[in-house]
Each structure stands twice: as C-alpha cells, then as structure tokens.
Amino acid sequence: MIPGPFAYYRPSSVAEAVGLLVRLGDEARPLAGGHSLIPMMKLRMATPEHLVDLAGVAGLKEIRDNGATITIGATVTQAELINSELLLRRLPILRETALQVADPQIRSKGTLGGNVANGDPGNDMPALMHCLNATYLLEGPAGSRLVPARDYYQGAYFTALGQGELLTGVSIPVPPLGHGYAYEKLKRKIGDYATAAAAVVLTLVDGRVATASIALTNVAATPLFAEAAGAIVLGSTLDAATVKRAAAAAKAITDPATDGRGTAEYRREMTGVMVSRALMKAAARARIGG
C-alpha cells in the first residue's frame, strides 16, 4: 500500500500555508498528524497532488489560557492534550476524551485540528467541541473567521471549511471551577471508533442541575448537540426518572448506521446508556467539586 505521488510543501507561517492552499487549489490538502489522511492515501481513496505540511507552521502548537476561554492550536497532538497541566486543571474532559482516542502511538501524531476539521463522524473531539460550545478559528484568502463547532458540520466529511481555508485552532469557553464532566464511549476494542459515545458537562447548585450540555459521537452523519436532553435535566437532582427521560430525548435525535459495531437499533439504545452513564459520572464529579 503505497500512496500516489504528490509534491510536498513545508510552509513556516499560516499566511504562507493559506497562500499555498489557495494557489494549488482543489488538489492540495493540509497535512498535520496525517493519521486520517495517510491511511486514505494508502488506499488511494485520497490522491492529493500537493501536501502542505503544517509541522513547521509557527504558533499552531500553543495551548493558551485567556481566562474565560482556552485556545488550542490546530497541531497540538492528542498526547499533548493528555499531558497539559492547564487542561487537566481547567478542562479535564479534554484529557478524558483524548485518552479514549485511538492508541498511544496514534496519539503521538494525531492532532486536535485534524480530528475536528475533516468531518469524520467517527472522531471523538467534534462532539466534545459541541458539548463545550467551542469556536473554530479559520484562516482563508479573505482573512479569518470564527465558526461555532455546532455550525461547522454539514454531513459526513462535509464541513463549513471553504476552499483555501485552514482550521488554525479552537477556542473553548472554560466551564466554572467544580463543574462535572464525563466522556463515556462504548467501543469494541481500543483504537476503535465509538459504537456510541456521549459527552456531558454540567454544574450543580445545591444538588440541582444549574447548567447541562450533552453531545453525541458517531450516531449520525455529524456530531449531535443533544439540546433537548440537556434541557430536561435542568433543575433536577438527576433522579432516575429524569435521567431516563434525558436519555430518551438523546436517542430520539440519533440516526446511526447499521455496521460492524452493531445494528442501528443497538447503537441508538447504547446512546441512551452512554448519556445516562455520562450524566451520573459528571454529577458525581460535580458533587465532589470536579
């Protein structure tokens, strides 16, 4: 399995990278960790004529604390997310999710930007970005623009990313200290995509849910923001009846495919189980102060 031939470019700035993508047109692709693109190239399902390697682009490796938000550069790897003391302290759900992405070797190379940018419905980070209400930073020929994660995904591998545009980072509003969180992922084995997975971030005030956000991985052509399910738990103590209603609301918006991971019915059912588990784990963590 040998990829098709391509010309290789190694820009040193975002402007230079965008300039290359614009000039080289449709047949050019950015290369970050390469762990989605290179397997596709080996299968000749992707045959780009030009690869623009982002490894030398300055400024894309940074995890920056802006107070109310944290911005993470596109080429920060999953391993770097896991090892970040800042994220462990302020956004621990990123570490919890990254630890469930692929395997240790792949996390050495795979990047956050690559995981969120390409629109693969199996990827874990897009649903997490929905849950956290993150914003993607896009740089293109007409300048920069901000696109909420919840507006970015249009279908499997179809996104808001325009011709010549590059996703350079994500900006994440930091939930309050002591928030509860969980990423619950059912998978057949380590390294597999989710059969179903759910991300939950919530806050409790006097034992009752004050805010809640729920999102789902790999149970539709795009990640899903389970807005109605989140609204159901507001004000509750997460009693069994309420959790069951929230899980049912989450299941109702799914449209999973029947594949090697199970039938559509099974994957929908497991979505409910993952939402219930994530809600209970997040609540338990919020009760002990995150």
Partner: protein, 169 residues
C-alpha cells in the same frame, strides 16, 4: 502529473546522522527497511492498527507505516537495532522478553520492545494495567499478551534495581 522531485531528508537514526533523497510519498517504514537496510521495524497490517512498525521518534512512540519519511526530517529516530547496550549486552527489555518468554513467532516483538521503551521512560514503574493500556496499540497473535506483560515487568524491575518474583507462564 509531472515527475515529482526528490527531497533531501536529514535525520539521526540510532545515533547516526543520515542524509538521503526521497520521493515525498516514501513512507518512513519503507525508507528504514529499503533505503537504510534496517529491517527490524516490521510491516504488519499497513493500516496503523498492529504496531509492528513502532519506532521511537524524538522520544515518542510512532507507527512509522503511517508517516512519510520527509516528515521525519530533522528528527531523531530509534529502531530496535539501536536498543542493545553499546557493549553488545541486551537492553533490560530484550533480556526481559528473553527471560519471560515474551515472544513466540517474534513478528510483533520489535514494535513491542520499542513501544515498551517509551512506556518505561514515561512510566518507570508501571502497574500491570498501565502496561496493558500502554501496549494497547500493539497486536500479538501468539502469546495472549501475558508473557509480554511479564517481560515488561521484568525490565521495569531490573531498571528499578529489583528482581521480579515471577516466572513465565
């Protein structure tokens, strides 16, 4: 499309500076095996699943079937050929695999060793669970993993100045 120009790649492999010209599409595993003649890293699944091609790049474990050689430009790469001690004696991991029967057919072994090397540098005294999680990107179709785990425990014990009170299955 027009003929693609070869590019200069300069890197350090097992402590030795190497410079070659490569086609951009040359995968690092093919570069190591065919251009440099280091056939220790194996080609197993070619899809990034099995881990037989695992090498150490700048202190991290990487599946080098899913990386272009040109991406390693400027990097330091260690393969299983560079694992033994300078005096020719076996590295603690190699000795562990020998003592605890950590291999049968041996195909996965170079990847297991190189993954375990980085695992022990990051987690010098791992629990059994940490070892199993740490090698979760490496498949073995012979051993059932039990003796591989013990081999890594043997090496960790040696490197920490202890003797492992256990025997191969």
């Amino acid at each position: 499309m027009a003929e693609i120009e070869k590019l200069a790649v300069s890197l350090v492999i097992n402590g030795k500076k190497i410079q070659r010209f490569v086609e951009p599409r040359t995968l690092l595993i093919h570069f190591l095996r065919e251009d440099i003649g280091l056939t220790g890293a194996h080609i197993g699944c070619e899809t990034g699943h099995c881990g037989a091609c695992t090498v150490e790049i700048d202190g991290q474990s990487v599946k080098c079937c899913t990386m272009f050689a040109i991406q390693a430009n400027g990097s330091s790469v260690n393969t299983v050929e560079g694992l033994a001690n300078a005096d020719g004696t076996l590295h603690a991991l190699q000795e562990g695999f020998r003592q605890m029967h950590g291999l049968q057919c041996g195909y996965c072994t170079p990847g297991m060793l190189m993954r375990a090397k980085v695992l022990l540098s990051e987690t010098p005294d791992p629990t059994e669970e940490e070892i199993r999680y740490g090698i979760s990107g490496n498949l073995c179709r012979c051993t059932g993993y039990q003796n591989i785990v013990k081999s890594i425990q043997h090496a960790a014990a040696t490197l920490n100045g202890r003797t492992l009170q256990d025997a191969a299955e």
